[in-house]
């Protein structure tokens, strides 16, 4: 499906990719374009640069969507994914009594560590997505994800959290001796408690017992959480959700993309299309580009330097094409948009709109601009 088709038909569009490839900007631009096409759209973003934050009116972190007027009665909503806030909300929502919620919320570990606890941060971000999807006030959610490795945690969070709930981990943390072969035996208990106490003394960290208390507190919410998590997982894997990979022709991205695609596969997710950012247009700088005479004589020294500039960019374009080929083979998905290397990064609403129109052209794109890429 084309990128235009995706933004017009999907409920959730998730942008994944490495850091520094323009993922956040791309997500914002897609949001602007979808809103212009009449879809009630919200962009959920993790870490926008200041100028983009300003453009989207995301000055405060309060876990609520902000309205961004785009002119002519069109608007887009934007929201920063706020882990802590969502987690607190979730705990309150799931708890059967305020006291039960307070037991979790007041736990010192919860306060300090809820963000880093084995995928909970990522789960909470996905949780916001689900909440907005259920909310019914949006046709499309465009989701910007944390950089590659963390995107895996993010998208795989429901499965991992379920696995954690189902695993012996809870039991182990409440009673660490259960990891021993002769679990339950008095001897095993004595040995391991001794070792763990030693570990605590050595490190000066009383984590083991504190985690036990935390797990015990949050376990009371397990049943409700399990239902919730299964729902999120269904949303992510369902027909209404698509994943697009945002990438760029840079060597560092090859292994990261490979790892990302594999991990997504394990999580039952696949990339539907690839958006290539920062590529030099092959039509201009490809090796077979024509070299007609210059429209006016410019003198030998300048003409020589013009030729050098062209040849350098040709070399760069060649290197980019060589870098991109294995990356695209890894992604096992077609290129659905290509954004040339701009001298400046778009950040105002107007520039985002231009980028959106470029990403999703109203008419069929110039085939020359994409030659040799889709087959790569």
């Amino acid at each position: 499906m084309t990128l235009g088709g995706l933004i017009e038909s999907r409920r959730v569009l998730v942008c994944v990719g490495s850091g520094g490839v323009g993922k956040t900007t791309t997500a914002a631009a897609l949001g602007v374009e979808a809103a212009r096409r009449g879809r009630r759209t919200v962009v959920l973003t993790v870490d926008p640069a200041q100028r983009l934050k300003d453009a989207l009116g995301l000055g405060t972190l309060d876990g609520k969507p902000r309205r961004v007027p785009l002119g002519r009665g069109v608007h887009l909503d934007a929201m920063l994914l706020d882990v802590k806030h969502t987690f607190d909300e979730l705990v309150r929502g799931l708890a059967t009594s305020p006291e039960q919620a307070a037991r979790v919320l007041d736990n010192r570990l919860y306060q300090n560590l809820s963000g880093s606890l084995a995928g909970t941060a990522e789960y909470m971000a996905i949780e916001s997505v689900q909440r907005l999807a259920e909310d019914g006030s949006y046709d499309l959610l465009v989701v910007d994800t944390p950089p590659a490795r963390h995107a895996i945690d993010f998208l795989d969070a429901p499965r991992r959290l379920l696995a954690l709930l189902d695993s012996r981990a809870f039991a182990i943390l409440k009673d660490p001796t259960s990891i021993l072969p002769a679990a339950g035996s008095r001897l095993a208990h004595l040995v391991l408690s001794g070792v763990l106490r030693g570990l605590e003394r050595f490190t000066g960290v009383t984590l083991v017992s504190e985690i036990g208390e935390f797990i015990a507190a949050i376990e009371e919410l397990t049943g409700a959480l399990r239902t919730r998590v299964a729902g999120t997982q269904a949303l992510l894997r369902g027909e209404a959700t698509s994943l697009v990979l945002v990438t760029a022709p840079e060597p560092r991205l090859a292994s990261e993309t490979d790892a990302l695609v594999r991990a997504l596969g394990r999580a039952g997710l696949a990339i539907e299309g690839v958006i290539v950012n920062r590529a030099l247009p092959q039509s201009l700088f490809g090796s077979d580009a024509a070299e007609p005479p210059l429209p006016a004589p410019l003198g030998a020294p300048l003409e020589h330097r013009l030729q050098r500039a062209f040849e350098d960019l040709q070399a760069l374009a060649e290197r980019q094409a060589a870098t991109l080929a294995p990356l695209l083979a890894t992604a096992r998905a077609p290129v659905i948009a290509e954004v040339p290397l701009f001298p400046t990064s778009p950040a105002s609403l107007e520039e985002l709109g231009e980028l959106g129109a470029l990403l999703v052209p109203a008419v069929a794109p110039d085939p020359a601009l994409r030659s040799g890429r889709e087959t790569a």
């Binding site: 809870f170 990891i179 985690i211 210059l294 500039a309 990064s345």
Partner: protein, 312 residues
């Protein structure tokens, strides 16, 4: 007016910055420059695998340093592996340690101990700095390619984060020593790397502030990587933009316009960086063939040696 890189006698150099700005290339080039200046160098990367090829290593790097030449060694630290070593060291009883490491619960525990993995990485690096052979330090300089800036702050602030949890005991002592070493300008230099692009520059300004003020670390002026060369004089640029050429789609002119716009953007961002930090910056050229092409790292190393006054 080229910037100066205050890399003199510090033994620990930590290279940091946003993802994709060329930290690994700069790490390789700094290591190379120090080797060329006669130092025995260990280059280290954390949690990735891209430094080896830039240093012409044939095999993938491992946690144990590999000697690439008589004065250059390289290693790659895997934080999870470091955690495993640590647990083995503490628990000693291997069967317990293995079972503990394999259990989901331990991963939860590791994730819940903020700064533990980072602390272990620093601990390992500290070990290399202290390593001695035949009465002298094994390595004069350890150059570290730190994780992308969002993650290098945890790395560099680990002694404090973890220190808040572990107040007494052997770890607390080690943390104190690490923290003192990191903050001593005679021993440590933190080098932020950026590209002359808006997002990277903005993040670098925030990072610089955080590293030097919040964490109190000795931070060098940023190294601006991949700066496009100035190809055309002002008069030439005007001629190329003149009306008889402006509409032409000639590839040479397209190339020229692209390069002029890119250079203008870079110049503006360099100015912004200098203005915000009140310092000159070290610039490295954009390499059209990439730093991985033959001679790429050597070229960057020569520029850095010059900026640090290491050149003979």
């Amino acid at each position: 007016m080229p910037g100066h890189l205050p890399f003199k006698t510090q033994r620990l150099v930590v290279v940091t910055g946003k993802g994709g700005v060329g930290k690994t290339s700069v790490t390789a080039a700094l290591a190379r420059a120090a080797v060329d200046a006669g130092r025995r160098v260990l280059a280290v990367e954390v949690g990735q695998a891209r430094l080896g090829p830039l240093l012409d290593a044939v095999e993938p790097l491992t946690t144990d340093p590999v000697r690439l030449t008589s004065t250059l060694s390289a290693a790659a630290i895997d934080p999870e592996e470091a955690l495993g070593d640590f647990v083995l060291g503490v628990l000693r009883i291997r069967v317990f340690a293995r079972r503990l490491l394999e259990s989901t619960s331990f991963q939860v525990l590791a994730a819940a101990a903020p700064g533990l993995a980072e602390f272990l990485v620093l601990y390992k690096i500290g070990g290399w700095l202290d390593a001695r052979r035949l009465g002298r330090a094994l390595y004069d300089v350890v150059v570290v390619d730190a994780p992308a800036s969002g993650h290098s702050l945890p790395l560099l602030s680990a002694p404090r984060t973890l220190g808040a949890l572990a107040r007494i005991g052997p770890i607390a002592d080690t943390l104190g020593a690490l923290d003192r070493r990191l903050r001593d300008p005679a021993q440590t230099l933190v080098v932020p790397v950026t590209t002359p692009e808006e997002l990277a520059v903005r993040e670098t300004i925030e990072l610089h502030e955080e590293l030097s003020h919040t964490l109190g670390l000795p931070v060098a002026p940023p190294i601006v990587n991949a700066v496009p060369a100035r190809r055309f004089t002002h008069a030439e640029a005007e001629r190329l933009m003149a009306s008889d050429l402006a509409a032409s789609r000639h590839p040479y002119l397209e190339a020229a316009r692209f390069e002029i716009a890119r250079r203008a953007q870079a110049t503006a961002q360099l100015a912004e960086l200098r203005r915000a930090l009140g310092t000159k910056v070290v610039q490295l050229p954009f390499l059209y063939d990439g730093p991985e092409a033959p001679g790429g790292v050597a070229q960057l190393a020569a520029e850095l040696a010059e900026a640090a006054g290491l050149a003979a």
